[in-house]
């Protein structure tokens, strides 16, 4: 059966087309769906597109930021107001992939891809989705836990609060190949500070489980503490707790567990 391409002007119709056809996939930047087609994935026979401008809108003027699911990494890099997201955006692919790949698609990218989503998880993002029956907002934690069941929905946008200071959000992708390489692990930390104490720390890890996960034990060691050497050591020591990394072509589970604390310590202490 040849592939059918369906282009809709509004997201409702696109979402309806997606949810009514198991062989339909939404085409964002093409890095996942076109690759699958090129490689002979015959489970896809319908490609759904939406030309709704809302899908590519960036709202970065206020304290709450919304990125349309079709926003590319190159556009984030071009947005001065989104400086804190430049590191995660730049860590995706090479320039061509950044001109194509989207924030929404990244939510679905399996290990060793999907680094931007690690940043989103640390920022406690909310994912707006449109199903066959209607729209809803779900937390990124929940979205990732149920990701396998989300292929029939259309992601519209992702939103999150702007970090209080440039220091409050940190991101690092550990790759073997420079400057463009797949992640061995990815780390993102959001460390809101009240006075000199961290309140509401979120640490997200990529490649430490089948989907990006929170390092909750490490978060607890930071909570209510100043970011000093002993706090950082405690967080580093707790980084591996609760993780379930796997072996893959880039590194083994053992190696990931060994280094996650080292890199979290370096990230928190600002070391190269």
């Amino acid at each position: 059966m040849p592939v059918t391409v369906k282009t809709f002007t509004n997201t409702h119709d696109a979402a309806a087309a997606l949810s009514s056809d198991r062989s339909a996939r939404y085409l964002g930047g093409g890095t996942l769906v076109m690759r699958a087609l090129n490689e002979g994935d015959i489970s896809i026979s319908t490609v759904v597109r939406a030309s709704d401008h809302a899908m590519t809108r960036i709202d970065a003027s206020g304290s709450r930021i919304t990125l349309g699911a079709g926003v590319t990494f190159a556009r984030i890099l071009a947005e001065r107001d989104l400086g804190f997201l430049h590191a995660p955006a730049r860590s995706i692919g090479g320039p061509a992939v950044r001109n194509m790949g989207t924030v929404g698609g990244n939510l679905f990218a399996p290990v060793p891809y999907g680094d931007f989503t690690v940043a989103m998880l640390a920022l406690d993002a909310v994912v707006s989705v449109q199903g066959g029956l209607g729209g809803r907002e779900i937390s990124i934690d929940e979205f990732l836990q149920t990701r396998d069941r989300q292929t029939g929905v259309l992601v519209l946008a992702i939103s999150f609060a702007r970090p209080g200071s440039t220091d409050a959000f940190r991101y690092r992708k550990i790759a073997r190949i420079k400057p463009k390489g797949g992640a061995v692990i990815t780390l993102a930390a959001h460390l809101p500070v009240n006075g000199s104490r961290i309140v509401g720390a979120r640490i997200a890890l990529g490649s430490m489980a089948p989907t990006p996960i929170r390092a909750r034990a490490a978060e607890r060691t930071l909570e209510g503490r100043a970011l000093d050497a002993s706090t950082i050591s405690a967080a580093a020591a707790a980084a591996v707790e609760g993780t379930t990394p796997g072996d893959n072509a880039l590194a083994s589970a053992w190696y990931r567990r060994e280094i996650v604390g080292v890199h979290l310590r370096r990230l928190l202490s600002g070391q190269e």
Partner: protein, 527 residues
């Protein structure tokens, strides 16, 4: 940055040349920068069909039943090619130079021996339709125990990977499970060495990863011939391999290639051409068969892994007096070119050093993985890794500078090499000296003054008495020394074998099928 050291060996060169030695622009550069260099895939022919193969899901399995009926009815399918459609469905690459037995089918017959082995080929109007048909081929496998480790494969009771070689090793000289090298008495020298160091080294498989994947386009041409655009690294190798497998005269084919997007050894195996031409023969249409990237990485042949054990004897003054090497080439499920690499590896021992006692056993072992093939430095890269790591450890052991340690042991003009030919035209010492200079690595004056052209030969030209092994046949092969080689210096008579030894097995009178004989006449292949 590159510097030409014209001051060295100037007396051996005529530098009064006009074109040689100039950094002339590449003939193909303009084509490359304008994107007009013609690679095989840049030929689009009217009505071209696309070929894809069904690959084995298992590393080792018996094929109980292959049902292609639904695939044949699938939309856009022009032809399903099964093993029985391949005229001569058993080949080994080096049969063209009379080396080894036919051991590999183009499409698996009753058994698959590695994951990804081609079983059925689909020729369809579009790649998509070929993929859809692939999903409709039903294969009933009986999964068999598989072996992946070269040393496990040699243990008694190991699964037999390839029935052509039931001991899981290539057969050398119709008798041997390995290629030997024997020079001097390594065991005796090890017994009297000041230090003995035994180590294990493991070379990984390596994927060639050319930016252009393997592929070809074949089309019926005028007057009953077939034109074939190909990425092959060896045009007549491919022509003759296809002529053999498809059982037609070689001049049935007009092969065009010559501009290839990287090879590194990975495009010698003629993997796509036979099925591609067969597809064109069976459909009467142009057919294109190009590897996808995952196919190239996982089922295209890699440089094979090698496991190497080295046991060295070294004296306190830094002289290496014995080197004993056991090496296993992981050939994967079929021979391809690993048998040849093992001989090349044996010839390379003990590296560029004059060591009076050398003992080598090099095995070509079959395992249930993608067949290995040639790659840049074939047969040598892994051994160099092992030898040079070992040399560093030996230098450390005797407390010598590693550069000076290598200069001390380096071969020089006139020395006898372990494969019993005189070393000539050597330049290892000078390379070490110049590298030291470039890296500002201090060498002592006497080491700076040493030369490849001085102090070689003499006692270093002799073959140390080499004991015969009781199990081995004693008749020596006829030696064909080339015009470049002189006979080795006179040697003392080796000691006779111990009287209690059993009589040696008879040796075949002349090398024939499976013997290490490289026919120089390519194209007049033996059937």
């Amino acid at each position: 940055m590159l510097e030409l050291r014209k001051d060295l060996f100037a007396d051996e060169r005529d530098d009064n040349l006009k074109e040689i030695g100039k950094g002339t622009q590449r003939q193909d550069m303009l084509g490359h920068v304008t994107g007009t260099s013609p690679y095989f895939d840049d030929h689009k022919l009217q009505g071209m069909l696309h070929l894809k193969v069904v690959r084995s899901a298992h590393s080792h399995a018996r094929l109980r039943r292959i049902d292609t009926s639904e695939a044949e009815r699938s939309q856009g399918v022009r032809r399903v090619i099964r093993a029985s459609d391949v005229p001569r469905n058993l080949n080994t690459l080096l049969s063209l130079i009379n080396f080894g037995k036919d051991d590999e089918p183009s499409l698996a017959v009753d058994k698959v021996r590695y994951k990804g082995e081609p079983i059925v080929a689909i020729v369809a109007d579009s790649p998509r339709e070929a993929y859809e048909a692939i999903a409709k081929v039903k294969i009933d496998y009986e999964v068999l125990p598989a072996v992946f480790d070269v040393e496990d494969a040699l243990k008694p009771g190991a699964p037999v990977v390839n029935e052509v070689y039931p001991k899981n090793t290539f057969t050398y000289h119709e008798t041997y499970d390995r290629q030997q090298l024997r020079f001097g008495d390594a065991d005796r020298a090890l017994a009297t060495a000041d230090h003995v160091l035994e180590q294990r080294y493991q070379m990984s498989p390596i994927e060639h990863a050319p930016t252009e994947t393997n592929g070809s386009i074949a089309a019926p041409d005028t007057n009953g011939r077939y034109i074939v655009y190909t990425s092959t690294q060896a045009l007549f190798f491919s022509v003759d391999t296809c002529a053999k497998i498809l059982d037609v005269p070689s001049n049935t084919f007009h092969f065009i290639g010559g501009t290839v997007g990287g090879g590194f050894g990975g495009k010698v195996d003629t993997l796509t051409e036979p099925l591609c031409i067969l597809g064109a023969m069976l459909t009467g249409r142009p057919v294109r068969y190009v590897f996808g990237r995952e196919e190239e990485m996982q089922y295209g042949p890699p440089r094979g892994a090698e496991r190497i054990y080295i046991k060295d004897g070294v004296m306190r003054d830094g002289r290496v007096v014995a080197r004993k090497v056991r090496a296993y080439f992981d050939s994967g499920a079929y021979t391809r070119l690993s048998s040849y690499a093992a001989v090349k590896c044996a010839a390379h021992l003990p590296g560029p050093y004059t060591i009076p006692n050398v003992h080598g056993d090099v095995y070509c072992v079959f395992t249930n993985r993608t067949p290995a093939t040639a790659m840049r430095g074939f047969g040598v890269t892994a051994m160099d890794f092992a030898i040079e790591c070992q040399m560093d450890k030996l230098a450390h052991l005797v407390g010598m500078d590693p550069m000076e340690f290598r200069i001390l042991n380096a071969y020089r003009d006139g020395d006898m090499k372990a494969h019993r030919r005189e070393a000539k035209n050597t330049a290892l010492i000078e390379c070490v000296q110049v590298a030291a200079e470039k890296a500002k690595w201090p060498l002592r004056e006497d080491f700076k003054r040493m030369s490849s052209r001085k102090d070689g030969g003499g006692a270093r030209a002799a073959v140390t008495p080499t004991p015969r092994e009781t199990h081995a046949p004693i008749a020596a092969a006829t030696q064909q020394r080339t015009t470049y080689d002189r006979a080795p210096a006179a040697t003392r008579e080796p000691p006779p074998p111990p009287p209690s030894s059993p009589p040696p097995p008879p040796r075949p009178s002349a090398p024939s099928h499976g013997a290490t004989r490289f026919s120089s006449v390519f194209g007049t292949r033996r059937r």
